[in-house]
Symmetry: C2
Subunit: 313 residues, 2 copies
């Protein structure tokens, strides 16, 4: 059996053929095109070429389904997608187009961070557990929620927005329009902005989260403080989520999670400060396991694990 | 068909016979005994006498089940209960005892605030909706969570602890051992303590939440400020829960919710400040509908709506 799995983000388009064990039998990726004047159909043709290549490389197997993770927002489950970082698609009928291209097997599309969480539950750090929060911490902070063994979709497919749990009500404004959201503090660009305000200057280098993390590893006090700030915000948000949802595992992936102890130590400290009841202290906060392919594996699980991960039509 | 529904709290023991429509066909209550020297068996005998009376009054109908809401904490679903405000029961095997008393039909026990939320979902402010947070705001702040049409239990039956969502990380210490929890700020005694610190003096009257609410209705500025403080904390916590769970309805019951606009206006203001994304703005924050009997109706729903509200054995 084979599933065609697709991961659509602002940086890259990736696709793979995934077997029922979650193993990737074929994989390809291209940078997401951002040419001036690129229209919706142009981007669709790029995606189609990628899918053609991946399927051909895998020997054109018969498909039991097509699973897709795509940047939000989107309508769900209809999946008219308007990814924040892909201006060429606004209300693009991705599910309809993929159904027309692959008539017969189910086509299922969910938020890309939700797919990462599903991947971690199916074959990663949350496997075998019933109550798992999967998170992606990088340019934004996203997530997905598996409770009582099932993916939670919520009213409109938007459950899992851990990035907008409020961790500091009087904190910095967030791109969502709110204030003091986890994402406003812990997203890479937010950290960099804060560090610069405090006086951090990456002399002769780019002003990026990568350089900030590098300086933190070298012990630069402002960079270390920035990581502490992000870790603390994450710990507070995970404590809140734990109390509300009675989690077993919080699995944290995305670029920033690679900062290791610089991030996880203050995270753990804040979590332990706020999560004191016995049931809450049982939660394990761990790095995600699947790395770059988590989203593809989760997209495949929308098909293979449809009983747990797909509640819509 | 009849269910024997029971509600066990620190103030009262209540019981009723409930029909499949959620109507209460018989009802009785007694104050929870707190005599010095009362032991576990003494309290059990008080409960048995209450159940005998309710069943006799209803004509001793055959029971399709026994549903119980009980103050936490408890092991779940085994329901060895240790209600915070009932010292006579510590690890009391309530489910086993009720099973021995009513052999045959299922006996199902859940947290009392969870039962209130279930009641509001089944027959109250959340009926017909798939994603509902039910809350009780009084001496403590508790709740329960229905997502994708099912009660969420979480890893140990503790999902729904909205009272320990963090709304002010540097805020007052909470009885749970944490800091800045919603409950630490918005519970009645917390409000009273804060108002007194600010200089509120209910001259010649008791220092209680009831008097504080009365003064707020009279326009006493410190009492109004206390209600604002609670409303704001509630609005922040509900915004966080909405983002994480993609809710449709948050239904708020308990004594404090009767403060009306004095509480709900600042709540709504804080909610609107923090819940700005389109899906989050759809949520309706409303007073609970079922009043004092919500917990009993929810306890009955553990039986009648077992497919949605009971995931355990």
């Amino acid at each position: 059996m084979s599933v065609l799995a697709v991961d659509i983000g602002g940086t890259k388009l990736a696709a793979a053929v995934v077997d029922p064990g979650g193993r990737i039998a074929g994989y390809s990726r291209v940078p997401t095109p951002h040419d001036a004047g690129l229209d919706a159909e142009g981007l669709w043709r790029t995606l189609e070429a990628l899918l053609d290549k991946v399927l051909a490389d895998a020997g054109s197997p018969p498909l039991v389904g097509v699973g897709v993770g795509c940047g939000g927002p989107m309508t769900w489950p209809a999946a008219e997608v308007s990814p924040l970082n892909i201006p060429a698609w606004r209300g693009f009928p991705l599910r309809d187009r993929l159904r027309a291209r692959h008539p017969g097997p189910p086509v299922r599309i969910h938020n890309d961070a939700v797919c990462v969480a599903v991947g971690e539950h199916w074959r990663g750090a949350g496997r075998g557990r019933g109550n798992v929060l999967g998170m992606v911490v990088s340019t934004g902070v996203g997530g997905g929620l598996v409770l009582d063994g099932r993916l939670v979709d919520g009213a409109s497919g938007n459950a899992g927005h851990i990035g907008h749990v409020v961790v500091d009500p009087d904190g910095p404004p967030c791109k969502c329009g709110g204030r003091g959201c986890l994402e406003a503090i812990a997203r890479g660009p937010g950290l960099v902005a804060w560090a610069r305000e405090q006086g951090w200057r990456p002399e002769g280098r780019d002003v990026t989260g990568v350089e900030l993390a590098a300086d933190a590893r070298r012990g630069h006090p402002l960079a270390v403080a920035a990581m502490r700030r992000a870790g603390r915000a994450l710990g507070i948000a995970i404590a809140s989520a734990t109390h509300l949802c009675d989690l077993e595992v919080a699995a944290i992936g995305g670029g920033l999670s690679q900062a290791g102890a610089l991030l996880f130590d203050p995270l753990e400290e804040a979590f332990r400060t706020h999560a004191r009841m016995e049931f809450a202290r049982q939660v394990q906060v761990v790095p995600a396991e699947l790395g770059q392919t988590a989203g593809l594996i989760g997209a495949a699980a929308l098909i293979y694990g449809g009983d747990r991960y797909w509640s819509a039509d």
